[in-house]
């Protein structure tokens, strides 16, 4: 290579790397950024615009309609039941998988994610064939006069299934990157397992636990397909917010549907904010210690 050619190449790198001042950069930023703004921004903008287009007072009147208010209540109640249980499950699963070695550990890790691979409709149908009148436990439940399908407990159960992986998925990588040395030290100093978890492990993974719980909560509150099969959709009784949105929308009650949708959209935006902050914090814990 001649000296001039080499000098040119070096100049090209200097020009390309530190500043990335190429046409490509501009094209990709404008194209990708523009498309992303449309892709993420327009649906959110449309929801809030349609919810508020007739004014704040009208919006509030739509949100506090008895059926919508009951749907909000049922949705929050479901989250209050489901999220703590799946936090417990997530902690157990992550503790077993990251702090111990046993045959089939990796398979178990994959199995935990399995519910995320299923269509929520399949989850709902599976529960119908377990607890429904024509299902596996149907004859037993009928004989004992227990009704689960198309009641509120069915919504809890199917939500447990659909959202079971979220906390475990958040905790496993965080606990893996922390390693086991702290826990081993605590145990050798005489701490019990529970003390070790609460005082040694938990402080290091609290942010991962938070974003796992927040994502789990968002999915519980927004679940549609699975709940749609098992709830029976009784107005003012087994309608969650997502189902209420469908019902109002199909009734051509656009203002009501988007008022209800705006509450869940707000929840989604808050979820994203908490997740982003918690992820950064968890990453920082990992770096400070690594």
């Amino acid at each position: 290579m001649s000296d001039t050619a080499q000098a040119e190449s070096v100049a090209a790198v200097a020009d390309w790397r530190p500043n990335e001042r190429t046409v490509w950069r501009r094209v990709m930023l404008l194209g990708g950024g523009g498309l992303a703004a449309l892709f993420f921004g327009l649906p959110v903008a449309a929801i809030f615009y349609l919810a508020f287009q007739s004014g704040l007072e009208y919006y509030i009147s739509k949100v506090v309609e008895p059926a919508t208010l009951h749907a909000i209540f049922l949705t929050v109640l479901t989250a209050l039941v489901v999220v703590p249980i799946n936090i417990g499950f997530g902690i157990c699963a992550a503790w077993a998988i990251t702090k111990h070695d046993f045959p089939g550990r990796q398979v178990l890790g994959a199995l935990i994610d399995l519910p995320l691979s299923f269509s929520p409709v399949v989850a709902g149908v599976a529960y119908l064939f377990l607890y429904g009148a024509q299902g596996l436990l149907g004859p037993f439940l009928i004989a004992h006069d227990i009704q689960i399908m198309f009641t509120v407990p069915a919504i809890f159960l199917v939500s447990l299934f659909v959202t079971s992986p979220f906390v475990a998925r958040a905790l496993i990588p965080a606990m893996q990157s922390e390693g086991n040395t702290d826990e081993e030290a605590a145990i050798s100093l005489g701490a019990t397992g529970l003390q070790t978890f609460l005082r040694v492990s938990l402080p290091n993974i609290k942010w991962a636990l938070l974003y796992g719980a927040v994502l789990c909560n968002a999915r519980v509150m927004g679940e549609f397909g699975a709940v749609s099969v098992v709830s029976g959709k009784v107005r003012g009784q087994t309608n969650t917010l997502s189902l209420q949105i469908e019902l109002l929308f199909n009734d051509f009650n656009t203002a009501g549907a988007f008022a209800a949708a705006s509450t869940l959209t707000l929840l989604a935006l808050v979820t994203l904010a908490i997740k982003t902050i918690a992820e950064t914090r968890q990453g920082r814990v990992g770096r400070d210690r690594g």
């Binding site: 327009l42 599976a126 596996l136 549609f224």
Partner: protein, 274 residues
């Protein structure tokens, strides 16, 4: 005292995990499989291959494939600008990528159909061009693409971030064009992660329900997806038909689950070999 001490709690946590998974996940799935098995093979096949069922498979697979192709390109582009460039609003965009996961699918569904109906914000521009999105196949593609985009971005992003850029510089110094650098240096390193992200996105699109049903129009034999037909069968009390369709979806989900895990193992091996 010497050596590592075992951390306690294995029996308790592993036991809880297995019992919980069995009760909450395996038992219902087993009940579904039993129900479908009670049909017998011949009945199962005839129910699962009616003209209407076959049309829902075709619509679902076709739209999921288009949505995944779009996301392969758009997801890669987003991951690229998020990892390679500094720009105003980068952190916000990075957070917004997960919006489709955080936003309930029914909310996404009503928002998308409202944008694309002929007098909607986007529909009013597409209608004069003769492009029909809402209540047609393109609408289904858009709904599936919206809900599955984060899978591709989040799979590709960490690989791009860790990629050693010396090789790219070397390629450029040796006179490779931008396209050659992308095609011969960047893409081979990204491929396993990109494919595994696409497999996740495709799997999610096959099962997507909430976002799709509002925009699809749900015309039998034209724009009806498998999960909707399953629900219709339940509402008609055609339980064996619903069981058969659900098992077909379950089988598809298992195939995608194994494909994704195989890709991740391949990708893990490559990362380890590097």
């Amino acid at each position: 005292m010497s050596g590592r001490r075992a951390i306690p709690g294995l029996a308790l946590t592993l036991g809880t995990t297995l019992v919980y998974l069995t009760l909450i996940a395996f038992l219902p799935i087993a009940a579904l499989l039993l129900k479908a098995a009670s049909l017998g093979w011949a009945d199962f096949v005839s129910i699962a291959t009616t003209r209407r069922a076959l049309s829902t498979y075709r619509v679902t697979i076709l739209c999921a494939a288009y949505a995944t192709l779009f996301n392969a390109a758009f997801g890669l582009l987003l991951a690229w600008i998020l990892t390679r460039y500094q720009f105003w609003g980068r952190r916000v965009l990075d957070g917004l990528v997960d919006l489709p996961f955080a936003l309930p699918t029914a909310v996404a569904g009503v928002a998308l159909v409202t944008l694309f109906v002929p007098n909607g914000w986007l529909g009013q521009w597409l209608e004069p061009l003769g492009i029909k999105v809402a209540f047609a196949l393109p609408g289904i593609v858009i709904a599936m693409a919206f809900t599955s985009l984060p899978f591709v971005v989040r799979s590709v992003q960490p690989v791009l971030m860790e990629m050693n850029r010396d090789v790219e510089d070397a390629g450029m110094l040796l006179g490779a064009s931008d396209f050659q650098i992308f095609r011969r240096i960047i893409l081979p390193q990204l491929l396993p992660a990109l494919l595994s992200g696409c497999a996740l996105a495709f799997g999610r699109s096959l099962g997507e329900f909430g976002a799709v049903i509002f925009i699809a129009g749900n015309i039998p034999l034209k724009t009806e997806i498998v999960s909707l037909l399953t629900i219709i069968r339940i509402e008609e009390f055609e339980y064996s038909s619903a069981a058969a369709l659900a098992v077909v979806m379950l089988a598809a989900a298992f195939v995608m689950f194994f494909v994704t895990n195989a890709l991740q193992i391949w990708y893990g091996k490559r990362a380890g070999a590097r």
